[in-house]
Symmetry: C2
Subunit: 309 residues, 2 copies
């Protein structure tokens, strides 16, 4: 099967949305966008041997790829519309591609996403997606705007499970379904993202670890600010405290990457959607930018995940 047949068989589908004027199969796709809306765009990659193990399940590869990309749209409060996929495969294994494409399309249907562009080549396994969404003009939520007085909230799954799963991969822990689920099938918090338009003062998705992503919000705060986190409010993933003890569980929940929850600052007194959990508050800037139960973060914590390492 050559490139054209592969694209035709696995990646060409009838568009879901009438805004797709021309889909996969020409030099480029054409989409027609609503006036009074702005376009929100992000690019993400999953490289085998780097973001995921060298050999990995095709459905997990697809789910993590789309989860990661859509989480960026969720963090802007955007509605997903289109996706473009550039896939590099070491060999053409029909079974692997079948399963990958199957999961990819199922998730596209679930999230109302049209695949409008594809590129395939031979090479070390990696996939790169561009996700495109939209928001009513002026209503996107950026990383800028956190200010003292706000509360700090997380939306979506509990924290630290994806990080704990790396210990399973390293053979340090026995298999654990929930952690594997968090790692391979991250759930982009699109509904929560939409519901926070006009409410969150700033928002980011937790991809590099809660504290590291929080630093990005603090870097863009209005005036100097310090965040006070409360350990008793942190929503831990299943069995994290039992297996590792509270101290290590906190480290995993606050510094482990790949949770893909949303982290938002919200002025007090607003009616926050039910899936949100308040984990702390923002005060005027002090010497430390993040305090945990009133103390600076432990210096031995490896803060966050640097994808370029």
């Amino acid at each position: 099967m050559n490139e054209f047949e592969l694209i035709r068989t696995h990646f060409q589908r009838d568009p879901l949305d009438p805004s797709v004027v021309l889909g996969v199969g020409d030099d480029a796709a054409i989409v027609s966008q609503l006036s009074d809306y702005e376009t929100v765009i992000s690019v993400d990659s999953v490289v085998a041997g780097r973001h995921v193990p060298q050999i990995c399940p095709p459905d997990g590869f697809a789910a993590r790829l789309l989860g990661r990309g859509l989480s960026d749209l969720a963090a802007m409060g955007a509605d997903p519309k289109y996706v473009l996929l550039s896939l590099t495969l070491p060999t053409f294994e029909p079974g692997w591609v079948d399963h990958f494409a199957d999961r990819f399309h199922k998730l596209c249907v679930r999230f109302g996403l049209d695949l409008v562009g594809g590129d395939t080549s031979r090479g070390p396994l990696s996939a790169h997606i561009t996700v495109i969404g939209h928001v009513p003009k002026g209503s996107a939520i950026s990383r800028s705007g956190l200010r003292s007085g706000d509360d700090l909230w997380v939306f979506g799954s509990d924290l630290g499970g994806a990080r704990a799963y790396l210990d399973v991969l390293d053979g340090l822990e026995s298999n654990h379904e929930v952690w594997a689920e968090r790692y391979w099938r991250p759930e982009p918090q699109l509904v929560a993202g939409l519901s926070l338009r006009g409410m969150a003062s700033a928002m980011i998705d937790i991809s590099d670890g809660l504290c590291q992503d929080l630093f990005h919000l603090l870097d863009n705060s209005v005036g100097s600010a310090t965040v006070k986190l409360q350990s008793n409010l942190i929503p831990f993933c299943d069995d994290l405290v039992d297996r590792f003890g509270l101290e290590k569980a906190l480290e995993y929940a606050l510094t482990g990457g790949d949770d893909y929850c949303l982290l938002a600052s919200i002025p007090p007194g607003l009616e926050v959607p039910g899936c949100g959990r308040r984990i702390g508050m923002v005060v005027k800037g002090e010497s430390a930018r993040i305090l945990l139960d009133g103390k600076p973060l432990p210096s031995k914590w490896q803060l966050g995940w640097d994808h370029s390492r």
Copy 2:
């Protein structure tokens, strides 16, 4: 230098166009599009060891990447607006990244393109770009619409030079500046593309070889059609005939990939832009779909370049 510093230093620039509401540096970019326009989108990749040699010059890598991507917009008659880059680097060599980013930004400025999204990771060298352009509603030129009676034209550089350069890389030929230029710095035919709106009945860019790309136009023709090519009208790249003889030069010009000219069918009697060269005509379908000087294409020709091979 970690991922964030790398992006900040090398890939964050002030937007050129006021339509960029929010550029690189947040979860996603926000752009505001004109009403009465449609958005044109394409994704492309350059994988080292596959599309280019394993070790390759950073400025050539950047120029070929953007040339390849923008050529898809040219082939739709679209105006380029935005680009997103996902870059995978085996190691962080400041000199290499400097040169790559420098050439990338210079070309962005030249083509009026804003870099609105970036992702970097460690891994085998590859780059994936999504290019986004626009056209007044309904004016994009697709691959569908070629019909008998049309003339067949190429726009842009001469043909076969990029293919001949592969012989230089393989050590079969001595260095040749023009061929190297065609390979490393393909010129996307954006101006020609724009000028063909409302004129070309169908268009494609020559990335996989003239004949193979012509088959895509024939696959989407209105009614059955055969293209009659005339070898005396083919614009050969410098020295192709002298070095290889006419027969081999024709093979390179008609089947070699990576020329990134435009191939368009145009009804007769129109005033075609000066940079165009007529290379044949479309007649009612015969048993062969392409005839060269009245004969079927030589069966020994390896037709086109399959990027998934």
